[in-house]
Symmetry: C2
Subunit: 201 residues, 2 copies
DNA sequence: GACAAAACAGGACAACCGGTCTGTTTATAA
DNA sequence: TTATAAACAGACCGGTTGTCCTGTTTTGTC
C-alpha cells in the first residue's frame, strides 16, 4: 500500500499532470470551459484519454483543479503580491492597472481576466465551481483591504473604508477588463484610473 | 414573389419568434450560450425544430438576434433611459446602482448582467458576436458621457472627463455584478458606491 | 527478483448536438 | 378559386462529446 504520496516523475520530467493543466488553463481562458472539448485538450497536450482520465476523472475535476491551482495563482502573482509589495494600497492598485495595460498593449490582444472569464461561465452552472471562484474573489479583495489597513496603521488613508476601497478596485478592474476584452482595446484600463492628482475614492 | 414583408400573425398572437427569443434570452442569461442546447430551447418554448430553424437558421443567428434585440434593449431600459431622465449623470448612475441592488436583494438571486455574461463567453468566439456586443458597450458608455456633457453645459461637473467618468461607471457596475453573481450577494453593488458626501471620481 | 500500485495507452460507447430534409398547413394576393 | 410563399411540424443524419473499460508499462517497496 502507499504510505506516503510518491513524488517521482514518470516519463515526462515536467510531469504530465502539469502539462494538462497548462493546456487546460490556456484553453479555458481563450475559448471557455464548454467550448473546450477534452479531445482538443488531449491533442494539444499530447496526452492519451487514459492518462487524462487517470489524473482528472471528469471534466469538472479538471476545471476545479485549474481554478484552485492556476487561476488562484494568477491572481496571487498579478495582484496580491504586487499590492503587498507596493508603498501603499493606492499605489499598488494603480501600478497593477498600468502594468496590465502595458502588457496587453504590447501583446496586442486581450484575452480577459482568467478569474472573471470562468466566473461568468461557471458560477451559476455548479455550486462547487461557484464556491471555488468565490474563494479567489474573497482572497483578492481581502489582500487589498489588508493593505489599506496597514496604510492606516502608518497614519495614511484615514478617510477610506478598507472594504469599500477593495471592492471598488476589484470591480473596476474586472469591469474594465471585460470592456477591454470585448473592444479588444486595453486603453479602457487607463480610462478607469483617475487623472494625476485626482483622488480615487 | 414577395413585394413587401407581410406582418400578419399566424397562430400565436404573441408571435412564435418572440417566444423563442424570450426563452433563449433567459437560457443564455442563466446557463450561457454553449450550455443551452437547441433541444432545451425548443422544449422550453414549445416549438418544433422546423419552426425554430425557420426563424433562426443557425444557433449563431439566434444568439445574434438575442444580443441585438434583447440585450441591447435591456441595457437601454435599465441604464440609458434612467440616466438620461436623471437630474445629473452622477445621480443617474447612483440611482441605477441602488435600484439594481434593491431589485436583486428582493428576488434573492443574482443572475448577473446579461451583456457581460454573453460578452465574456462570446467575445473571443466569433467576430460577429464581438462586434454586436462592443456596439452595446459603446452605446452604454456614450449615453453616460453625453449626460455628463449636458451637465457641463449647465455649469456642473466642470472638473470631470466625460469619457473617463462613463468608462469608470460601466466598469464598476460590470465588475460589481460579476462579484455579486459569484458571491450570490448583491451587497457588493452598494460597497462600490461612495459613501454619502464623498466624491466619485 | 517479486509484487502491488500507480501511470499511462487506446479503443468503445451511448448520449447528444446542431443542422438538414421533406411534407403539411396557413395566409395573402390575383 | 387558385397560385404562391411564408409558417410550421417532425423525422433524420453525421459528427462530436464526455466517460468508461480493458490492457500494458513503469515505479517503488520488500
Amino acid at each position: 500500500m502507499a504510505r506516503l504520496r510518491s513524488r517521482k516523475r514518470v516519463n515526462d520530467p515536467e510531469g504530465m499532470r502539469n502539462k494538462v493543466l497548462d493546456v487546460a488553463e490556456a484553453a479555458f481562458q481563450a475559448r471557455g470551459y464548454h467550448a473546450s472539448s477534452l479531445g482538443d485538450l488531449m491533442a494539444a497536450a499530447g496526452v492519451s484519454g487514459g492518462a487524462l482520465h487517470h489524473h482528472f476523472p471528469t471534466k469538472k475535476a479538471l476545471a476545479l483543479a485549474v481554478i484552485d491551482e492556476r487561476v488562484a495563482a494568477a491572481v496571487e502573482a498579478t495582484w496580491i503580491a504586487p499590492v503587498q509589495a507596493a508603498a501603499s494600497a493606492r499605489d499598488g492598485v494603480r501600478a497593477v492597472f498600468e502594468a496590465v495595460a502595458a502588457e496587453l498593449e504590447q501583446q496586442g490582444f486581450v484575452r480577459g481576466c482568467p478569474l472573471n472569464n470562468l466566473a461568468h461561465e461557471l458560477s451559476l452552472a455548479d455550486p462547487d465551481f461557484r464556491a471555488a471562484l468565490a474563494r479567489i474573489f474573497s482572497a483578492w479583495r481581502q489582500a487589498i483591504a489588508d493593505k489599506v489597513r496597514a496604510d492606516q496603521r502608518e497614519g495614511r488613508e484615514q478617510g477610506t473604508d478598507p472594504q469599500r476601497f477593495a471592492a471598488l478596485a476589484v470591480a473596476t478592474y474586472s469591469g474594465a477588463m471585460s470592456m477591454a476584452k470585448t473592444a479588444q482595446d486595453a486603453g479602457v484600463l487607463r480610462d478607469c484610473l483617475p487623472a494625476q492628482g485626482e483622488a480615487w475614492k
